[in-house]
Symmetry: C2
Subunit: 196 residues, 2 copies
């Protein structure tokens, strides 16, 4: 049994692991959209991806680990690249990505599973720690550039800016305008400057 | 068929409607905890409360209306009464109530139903508008007392203070300390003062 699908590139240097990850991610994404988190099973993912079960289990011991990893891979880049130097624009760009990610059936399945207590608390807390960490680049750059005090807590700024989005999306159902995003970002920045 | 249960007071002036409401609320609360929002039915509530179906439907045309009304009745008071003049303490008291309400299986059932799109958007938006409105007393008093600018948007202040609570409780699972509540309240107040 091969770890590769027939159409996967077989000899790209360093490509083997990357191909396995890409195939498993794609299979996991499809399956999660089709059956939801509860019925989602690692053996089924392995079969769909054309990858050995043991290969999957070695890398992702539980389905929570795989789904976390998948969601992180979808948000793994730094939006400040496109808006160098303007902290508020960078934060607004990040908030737009948050809104996009919340529209993904994948993310909705994970949030529903969280609400049901179906996700292991350690996996959940680790996922959010990593997600916040990966988004904190724009805050760290702003600190380095003297735009925010050196004592700024990146996670706290991100939480303050993003939590009204989750609140409206999942709790009140209220719509979110572009002006709202600028308000959320501006407040989080002002607070970070006042808190120091 | 009587609208009253055997043990309800029969002749208190103005008590008839209040007794019906209390009995229906109690029955609705029990039923929602037992079967969840999806399986919740107004006819079953009426039977349990010992109240005519038509009486229930006249006052609460849909189950969304009844559940909204029930939740509003559970949070219908003004926490500033206990901490006159200290805006931050009043806001912290309000946030503690938010945390308590999120622990109620009732509220969890409603949030899950929101996430599933099972609650009518108008009922949902109306519920949150009324819930925010009823909690806005402390903001209005603070404006009257000169503690906040006259242009302060009460709903916006409440949203800013409360949304990190919902975010941690339903999204990240992160714990919330009393110090966090003071931080959330202080930031919302500072923002309202800076925004004016």
């Amino acid at each position: 049994v091969s770890d590769f699908q027939a159409n996967a590139p077989a000899r790209r240097p360093g490509g083997r692991a990357a191909t396995v990850v890409a195939n498993v991610h794609r299979a996991a994404s499809e399956l999660l959209n089709e059956v939801g988190y509860d019925a989602f099973q690692l053996t089924e993912v392995a079969a769909r991806a054309g990858v050995n079960k043991t290969t999957v289990y070695r890398r992702w011991p539980t389905k929570g680990d795989l789904v976390s990893d998948l969601l992180l891979s979808l948000t793994d880049h730094d939006p400040l690249d496109g808006s160098q130097g303007d902290l508020q624009s960078a934060l607004v760009a990040l908030l737009r990505e948050v809104i996009d990610s919340l529209r993904m059936p994948l993310m909705q399945a994970v949030l529903r599973a969280s609400l049901d207590g179906a996700i292991d608390p350690d996996v959940r807390s680790n996922f959010w720690a990593m997600r916040m960490e990966r988004s904190s680049g724009i805050i760290v750059q702003a600190i380095d550039g003297g735009l925010l005090p050196p004592t700024t807590n990146a996670r706290s700024v991100l939480e303050q800016a993003a939590s009204p989005i989750y609140f409206r999306q999942f709790v009140t159902g209220e719509s979110i305008t572009d002006e709202d995003l600028h308000t959320f970002a501006r407040r989080a920045i002002e607070t970070a400057r006042a808190d120091h």
